[in-house]
């Protein structure tokens, strides 16, 4: 479970802020879970929010600026409504640079900048991923539970 730890005073690291990075496509139903999540959390001086369809190489530079990063993404095949995962850096690339994994980005960050923040992934279970806007009812329930977890921990 990720705990809020905003104690870093390093002037090189956004004054100890957390980066919350939402990944997904709102045009594909529950793939927009992460974006709905960041819309619903309160604004705060303790964290920055970044949103994108998918991870790109330059995100290695972005996350290198923070001490803690919480990625938020929709999950497809888990039993729990949400899970907190702790990915490990792993050099890997698929057939396209526009579908990089968190593990791959972490490895790039380590290689390029030395520093690697504490990385967590909030995976919220989605139900349907078709070409349409709006979350399914089940995804909304899972989102609510994930938001409760966030409220208790940040």
């Amino acid at each position: 479970m990720v705990k809020s730890s905003m104690k870093s005073q390093s002037k090189n690291f956004h004054q100890g802020k957390l980066l919350i990075y939402a990944i997904g496509n709102e045009g594909r139903q529950d793939d927009g879970l992460a974006h709905e999540f960041v819309k619903k959390i309160p604004s705060s001086e303790h964290y920055d929010i970044h949103q994108n369809y998918q991870l790109n190489v330059e995100d290695a530079e972005l996350i290198s600026q923070y001490r803690q990063v919480l990625f938020v993404d929709a999950a497809k095949n888990q039993d729990e409504p949400y899970r907190i995962l702790h990915p490990q850096a792993k050099p890997e690339t698929g057939f396209t640079t526009h579908g990089l994994s968190i593990e791959g980005i972490m490895a790039m960050t380590q290689n390029l900048f030395g520093e690697l923040p504490e990385i967590s992934l909030l995976a919220i279970q989605g139900q349907e991923f078709n070409l349409t806007m709006g979350l399914t009812n089940k995804a909304q329930v899972n989102l609510s539970q994930a938001l409760e977890w966030f409220e208790q921990n940040f």
């Binding site: 190489v57 530079e61 791959g104």
Partner: protein, 491 residues
């Protein structure tokens, strides 16, 4: 008994493509094709929508080069509200130009550093586990960091001008939604502190962008010198070349007239107004791909197709109206000894010269007080038809809309840049396949990568011609004429 080799998906290009190669019993290449496997249909989807939505909606064609579609659509919709390209206010046109140059700059940076560099640095036959952007990061850290910085600069320019890095919103009918503040301009002129050389949140200065781009051009020039016979002989074939040109035939990526030259540099289409494109441009269709084949009507589909994009633009233009890029153009033409270059792998060098040109243009605009003006939008007499053409990173892009009196779009025709290069990419694939596969008893991964290198040089945006749905594993299959798999490689 024929054999078929399939490469699907093609790697290190934007979007999803497939290559099929047919070998006869003597292992000679009989035929090879680049297939665009996804149905697009955007021209139909957009019908019925209000015309003012087009510059925003049409960007969903692509998450890679959305700005090009945003601006081409905006230029077309300007016509609908009664405004021609030279009728925008200075701040309106210059903000759009800045946005466009930022887009071309970052797109070219992405292509060179992430997609093309692995082949150039490690060799086309290097271990595929290393021959990718991870390998570049691990063994050429300084180059990788510069690549990330350069792309970031372009993306931040897009954000400052379009409102968002992807699927921006600021080009509106008749102008622009916002100007550029002095503070924003200063950020890009001076750069900011950061983790990477020159930055706090990591934006290099525009002068740094110019310097680093020149360094990369020097690197590539050196690479060309050391590998000239390989590069020159890789995929050389005659073609026409098409692009917009500005006054006096100078390079102009944002607006101009259409010019085409043949493989020897003779002008075959002279500075035509692009609103008249239907008078001289046609599109052919084939049963094995959803991508169309544009061609100059008077020459027919077999002879009238043209290459577009960086190589074509350097071939077509008389010169480049920024001094450093012009000097590099002179150097490039002197190196090749030719006024017109028909060799596919020179796209990479041409692309970097355009990057430099864009960096110089961005520097000029960032110092221009017109960008702080507030007369953002203009209007004229309503029309029912609009056409916008722009030189996107990958080539000449056409957006054409017809609108009813009730403001809904009734017809749309898009000729996306990569479509022009369809024939050229197929020819490049065929030439390379003939060279590397004919007579070979064994199909190696490096041979297939050479075929991909041929496609990759064109920096195709297959995303603009596709709607990708789900994951596509890379599988290379060798099949007999009955479809039985003889040999298979899976990534």
């Amino acid at each position: 008994m024929t054999k078929k080799i399939v490469i699907e998906p093609v790697t290190r290009v934007e979007g999803h493509g497939k290559v099929t190669i047919h070998l006869n019993d003597q292992n000679q290449v009989e035929e090879s094709r680049l297939h665009i496997v996804e149905f697009r249909g955007f021209e139909k989807f957009i019908q019925g929508r209000p015309y003012w939505e087009a510059p925003v909606v049409v960007q969903r064609l692509c998450g890679i080069c959305p700005v090009s579609h945003h601006l081409a659509a905006a230029k077309a919709i300007d016509n609908i509200v009664g405004v021609d390209a030279d009728g925008l206010t200075p701040v309106g046109e210059k903000m759009r130009r800045l946005m466009h140059y930022g887009q071309v700059f970052q797109s070219h940076a992405l292509h060179f550093f992430y997609l093309a560099a692995p082949d150039l640095l490690f060799g086309v036959d290097a271990d595929p586990a290393k021959r990718n952007v991870i390998g570049v990061i691990q063994e050429h850290k300084d180059l990788a960091i510069k690549g990330i910085s350069l792309r970031k600069f372009g993306q931040e320019i897009i954000k400052a001008t379009a409102g968002k890095k992807v699927h921006g919103i600021s080009a509106v009918p008749g102008g622009i939604h916002k100007n550029l503040s002095k503070k924003e301009a200063k950020t890009f002129l001076e750069g900011t502190q950061g983790n990477i050389p020159g930055g706090n949140n990591g934006i290099p200065s525009v002068d740094q962008c110019i310097d680093w781009t020149e360094e990369v051009i020097d690197f590539l020039k050196d690479y060309h010198s050391k590998n000239k016979s390989f590069i020159d002989g890789f995929s050389d074939f005659d073609s026409n070349h098409l692009s917009l040109v500005g006054p006096d035939g100078a390079m102009d990526l944002y607006h101009g007239r259409l010019r085409a030259v043949d493989s020897q540099g003779n002008i075959i289409l002279k500075d035509r107004e692009y609103h008249d494109y239907l008078e001289f441009l046609s599109e052919d269709v084939k049963e094995w791909t959803y991508l169309k084949f544009p061609y100059l009507t008077k020459m027919g589909s077999e002879q009238g197709w043209s290459r577009v994009g960086p190589l074509a633009r350097l071939n077509v233009c008389e010169g480049i109206p920024t001094p450093k890029a012009q000097a590099r153009l002179d150097e490039y033409r002197s190196f090749t000894g030719q006024r017109v270059n028909n060799q596919s792998l020179y796209y990479h060098w041409a692309r970097l010269i355009e990057m430099l040109h864009c960096a110089e243009l961005m520097k000029e605009l960032l110092q221009d007080p017109d960008l702080q003006k507030t007369d953002l939008i203009t209007k004229g007499k309503r029309r029912n038809e609009g056409i916008g053409v722009i030189e996107a990173p990958r080539g000449t892009l056409f957006h054409h809309y017809e609108v009813s009196d009730k403001d809904d779009i009734t017809r749309c025709n898009l000729i996306v840049s990569t479509t022009h290069n369809n024939e050229a990419m197929n020819r490049a694939v065929n030439i390379v396949a003939q060279r590397v596969l004919t007579g070979q008893q064994e199909v190696k991964e490096s041979m297939l990568n050479e075929i991909e290198v041929a496609i990759r040089a064109y920096d195709p945006c297959l995303s603009c011609a596709t709607h990708a749905v789900g994951q596509m594993p890379l599988q290379v299959s060798l099949m007999d004429s009955n479809g039985k798999i003889i040999h298979e490689i899976t990534k």
